[in-house]
Structure formats: structure tokens, C-alpha cells
Symmetry: C2
Subunit: 360 residues, 2 copies
């Protein structure tokens, strides 16, 4: 895995027009440049380069199209009021990228090299980081299997690519609690599967149920476990938390859910605030009973895109469980303000989470 | 779903050099042309064309790379001794393609149009169909999500593509029983997941365990169910059959395994031969006990690539279950000879399985 690679840089001649700050959306616009690196079994990872954002030229038999050998990451860069550029716990993303690589039989990537490459890419495209409230630069590292061969076995060729997209605030008008459908049939992932890896398969598995939920007026799906259809796993593509009688519960990492970096950060914040927190099995029945007893105080999803996504209502087996009268709870709000404050540099970095990108 | 599409044909100017008949391998060489068709939400499927085999030009943000929205099929064309071209039950593949499309939130494709397009493509590249014993033209239709957007939702743009590869005999020296590792930890798919769909995710999920098995000297993995880790599902990427005391058992289609076309054909053949067959739950314990009692007579995988793949040995929890002294069983051999005889046109087409491609 040792890599001492120079990064070849080819700058774009004519820069693209940047979207208006209020028209950013999510993952639609991409910056002027991208990072790429190739892998072959013979050479290992090589040919690291920053090049103009451009289409990939792919053999139609490339294994990624047929056998889904691919992993990705998602993280954000923020521009502070004093115009520094900060990354939120990027080392954790690179570590998780390699854990995903292991699960998908993809060769490991030197994590510090990948982070250096990302910093160079950000520095080159720094003008693309938006500075409006709630905006950021969303960063998508990913690996794809490129060997053109139809045998269902690990590829001999890969590409590691980083693309970046300026994104708007997730909530245009402050935190907005959403209605969630509890999915009892379709399953996102199961223990022994790939639920812990950040890989295309888990997202593909979730498309149908999410579309059904959307057609019925729900923002997302709450996933139950694939064995008992009973224990809560994730909400949409986020980790999920419930506050019941002053105690915060979140599903434990047992192999079928993502080890979210926002999830981990929230656990640290809750401990710091001396709020009791339990990482373990949570049955939907328990949540239902808490709701009936009036002790279900808050519920929210957590992830890089939204940071905190309050849940205002759960629909389960024909029952509507309304949470906090559909309003954002106090803890949800405090977590959101604290995390985004640390991320955008306006609050002190208590836990040494932020990594500054040097401008060049 | 109504489509009345002309297929635009652009022929290659200089034909590629064809590989030697004894150097075909599987899915390595591709023919001169490919079929492509585009989808947008606004227009539906359009721009059907046969063009020279060529790289795809893909935005790095295309959803297939990130969220695995893709399905595929696999079937074969055979050249008979009297130089006709036959397809084996291609309507079944197109039907299954659409069932996979539904599971993956991909728009349906007109099945008879797709089959017509395939026949035109085969006709244009007919010189590529090998005629040596056991050879065929492997056909890979697939759909990929091409919309460049990082939101995890169904794509608004797709491409449907058919590529073709001349393939050699799966067994260079006749049927060759293989050693199989019974996987007790890793899971291919679970009920509620996508195991019934022919989609990249199921193959991605299997790579790690298959690699581990290979490193330990096993050809493939036998998958158990994801709920109990007890009931047999598939072997490698094939359906699986066991003959115990004269009765043939195969796992039932309950949502987590592929509805194999070879599987279905074998069920029809067995019924035709009045051989008792049970499609239901088969525990690995039952197979183990049959082996100890000496009543495990045969075991084999079935699929388009190998047709029949006899299992000579199963390794489960430190035990080696040797089947038929590691030799090919009588029924396995009879099924293989009968199916391949029908497919390559040397035996009568008893069940009206074969579709002839008209030369133009």
C-alpha cells in the first residue's frame, strides 16, 4: 500500500461558469477539476492526476456496470467567515473508504496520500466553495472496477476518482421535520451482507421502497432489520436516533448499518453533555409504545448531507406516530447548531475534528 | 411502454481480428457491433441504434457508479451444424430483464422490440458465432443509470446496451466436478432484498467470500439464507440441485434467489422424465445427513454459462462431503447432454425452447 506518488496537474484553460449561490441544489453542479488515479494488478495504484472535470471513457464490459464492484465516500469542505477552508474529520472518511474497499475486494488506498490529493484538489478549485449560510463543497471520492471482462470476479483494474460539488443549505428555511414510512417488507441490508460498507448495492436496494414512500407523501423510509423485520436500522441513507424519557437510543453497529461519521460525532457530543446514550437494539415496537405513553421525545436522522434531519411523524402499520407535534425538538436543534457551528468554523473546535486546507 | 422504433445501423468500417477458436475464454473478446438505446423521463426509450463496439462516455457523477441502479441479462446464441443460428428461450430473458427493472425502479423495455434488436445485432455479427463443440456467442443485455446527479434516487436517464462475446466450452475436457465451500457468515441476498433480480449488487456482495474460497482451493461458494444461515440458496452465481434417494431437490423461488432459465428448463426435463422433483427449503443439515447415510447421490449447479456444473465435494464446518466419489453423476450428465443437444440444434427441440435468428 506504500505510495510515493507525484500528482500530475493539468489545469482547465477556460473555467466553467459557477451557479448562483441560491441555485446550488445538491450534487448537480461540479467544479472545474477532478482527481483520478489508476490501479492495475501489476503496478498497483499509479498515475495520480488532477485534470479538468471530464467524462470517463469506459468499456461497456467494465465490471462496475455488471457486478457493482465500487465504493464511495461523502464529506464536506466549508469556507469560514475569515475565509479559511475546513474539512470535517476527513481521516475518518478515508479509513471507512478502505474498510469498504476490503468488503468489496478492492485494493486499499494510502489514506494520507488520498487526503493530500483531496487537499490539493480543493486548493485548486477553492473558488468553488460557496460561502453562504448552510452552503458547503460536497466531496465524493469513489472507486470503480474498470476491467472489461464478464467473469463475476474481482477486477484487475480500478480507478479512484474524486469529484466535488458546491451544495446549498439542506433546509432552505431552518430545520424541517419530515414524515417517515416504516418499511416492513423491503430490506436495505442484512448482517453478512454489505450494509456496513459505503457501496452502490445498499443504495440500489433502497430505491424502490423510497419511491413508494415518496408517492405516498413520505420523505423517507425507516429500515428494519432483514432477519426479524423488527429492529430499527437506518432512516433513508442516514443513521437514526430516538430520545425516550431523556435517554438517547441509536442502533448499534453490528454489520448491517453504516458507521456514520456524523453518528460518531453525535455520540461524542452527547457524552460530553452528560446525556445518557444507548447504542443497541431498538425495536419499532418499543418506539411505538413510547409514542403511546407520551415518552417519545425526539427522533432524527444523521448524515453528512443534512447533518440532522428531525423526524416529525412515523407511519407504521397504519398508525401515525406524531413526534414533538411535528416540531423540531430541543436536542435535535442543539445538535444541529453545535455540529454546523463547529463545521463552519464559527464555534470552537472542541474535539479537534476540523482539518484546515492550506491555500496555495 | 409502446415502442415503434427504427433501429439506426452504423456499420464498422474495418472489422476486428477474431480470436482463435481455442482461445475464446469467457467474456473477454467482444464482437464488432453493439446495440444501444437511450431513455429520458421526457421522451421514454429512444434512439435505438447498432453501432461499432465502442467505449461509453460517462459523466463521473452518473448514478450507476454511485447508487448501482443497473440490471443485466445473460443468454447464448448457438450455431448449428447446418449453420442455423439459435437462441435458447430468449423471451424468458427479456421478461426477467423487466422484472429486474421493476425491482430497480428502471423503466420497462418493450420485450419484443428488445428481442428484435438482439436478432438484428446477431445477424450483423453472425461471423462471430463460433462453431466449435461447446462454443457459443454469449449475449449481455444491460441497463445503466446515466443521470449525473449525486442524490440517491432513481435516475432520469438510462442506457440499454447489448454486447456480445464469443465464448469457448466451459469444460475444456468434459464435465468436471468442482469443490465447493459452504459459506456460513457472508450472505449473498435476503428476502426483501434484490436476490431475485439480476442486478450488480448481488454479485458485488459475493466477491469477498468467493475470493476467500478460491484462496482455500474451492471453485465456488454455496450460499445459505440470510435469516437462519441454514437453508441452501445458490452455488456461486448458479441455481443448485441435489439428488437424494432418487428425488431431486432445488430451493424454491421465495424472493432471495434468481429465477434461473436453466433451472426452469431442468424442472421441465425432470418432469418429462418422470423423475420426482421438489422445489422447497433444503437445509444444509439435510444434505449433510444424506451424505453420511450414503443417500446424497448427486449435486450440481445450473446456469447459462456452464449449463450444468457438477459438485464433487462440499466443505461445511470442517467436514468434507464427497459426492459420487467426485465423479459426474448419471443424471447430471444426462441433463447436460440433453440441454446442450437441444441448444446446439443436434437434438429435437421437444419443448419449443429454441428461437431461430433469420440471416439477412
Amino acid at each position: 500500500m506504500e505510495q510515493h506518488l507525484d500528482i500530475h496537474i493539468e489545469r482547465r484553460e477556460a473555467k466553467k461558469t459557477k451557479p448562483a449561490q441560491d441555485q446550488l441544489g445538491f450534487g448537480i453542479h461540479f467544479t472545474d477539476h477532478m482527481f483520478m488515479m489508476d490501479y492495475t494488478t501489476e503496478i498497483g495504484w499509479h498515475h495520480a492526476r488532477i485534470v479538468p472535470y471530464q467524462p470517463l471513457v469506459m468499456d461497456p464490459a467494465a465490471k462496475v456496470f455488471h457486478y457493482g464492484q465500487t465504493v464511495f465516500e461523502g464529506l464536506k469542505a466549508y469556507k469560514t467567515e475569515d475565509r479559511r477552508i475546513l474539512l470535517f474529520r476527513p481521516q475518518k472518511n478515508m479509513q471507512r473508504l478502505n474498510r469498504s474497499n476490503e468488503r468489496l475486494s478492492i485494493p486499499l488506498i494510502n489514506e494520507s496520500f488520498a487526503l493530500d490529493a483531496l487537499k490539493q484538489l480543493i486548493s485548486i478549485d477553492q473558488e468553488w466553495i460557496p460561502s453562504g449560510s448552510g452552503t458547503s463543497l460536497y466531496i465524493r471520492p469513489f472507486v470503480i472496477a474498470t476491467q472489461p471482462e464478464l467473469i463475476a470476479s474481482p477486477s484487475s483494474h480500478f480507478q479512484f476518482i474524486i469529484i466535488m460539488s458546491p451544495v446549498g443549505p439542506y433546509y432552505a428555511e431552518g430545520l424541517n421535520p419530515v414524515k417517515i414510512f416504516v418499511e416492513s417488507t423491503s430490506v436495505r441490508a442484512v448482517i453478512g451482507g454489505m450494509g456496513e460498507a459505503k457501496t452502490a448495492a445498499n443504495y440500489a436496494a433502497s430505491l424502490m421502497a423510497q419511491e413508494d414512500a415518496k408517492h405516498n407523501g413520505y420523505a423517507q423510509v425507516l429500515w428494519l432489520d432483514g432477519v426479524h423485520h423488527k429492529y430499527i436500522e437506518e432512516v433513508g441513507s442516514m443513521n437514526v436516533f430516538f430520545k425516550i424519557k431523556g435517554i438517547v437510543y441509536t442502533p448499534a453497529l453490528k454489520g448491517s448499518i453504516l458507521d456514520g461519521i456524523t453518528r460518531d460525532s453525535i455520540l461524542q457530543l452527547l457524552q460530553h453533555w452528560n446525556i445518557p446514550v444507548v447504542s443497541g437494539d431498538i425495536s419499532i415496537q418499543k418506539v411505538y409504545e413510547a409514542s403511546r405513553e407520551g415518552t417519545l421525545e425526539e427522533a432524527f436522522g444523521t448524515g453528512t448531507a443534512a447533518v440532522i434531519s428531525p423526524i416529525g411523524e412515523l407511519h407504521w402499520h397504519g398508525q401515525n406516530l406524531v413526534i414533538q407535534n411535528g416540531q423540531t425538538g430541543e436536542l435535535s436543534n442543539k445538535l444541529y447548531q453545535t455540529l454546523t457551528g463547529i463545521q463552519n468554523g464559527s464555534d470552537p473546535d472542541l474535539f479537534h475534528w476540523m482539518t484546515e486546507v492550506n491555500m496555495r
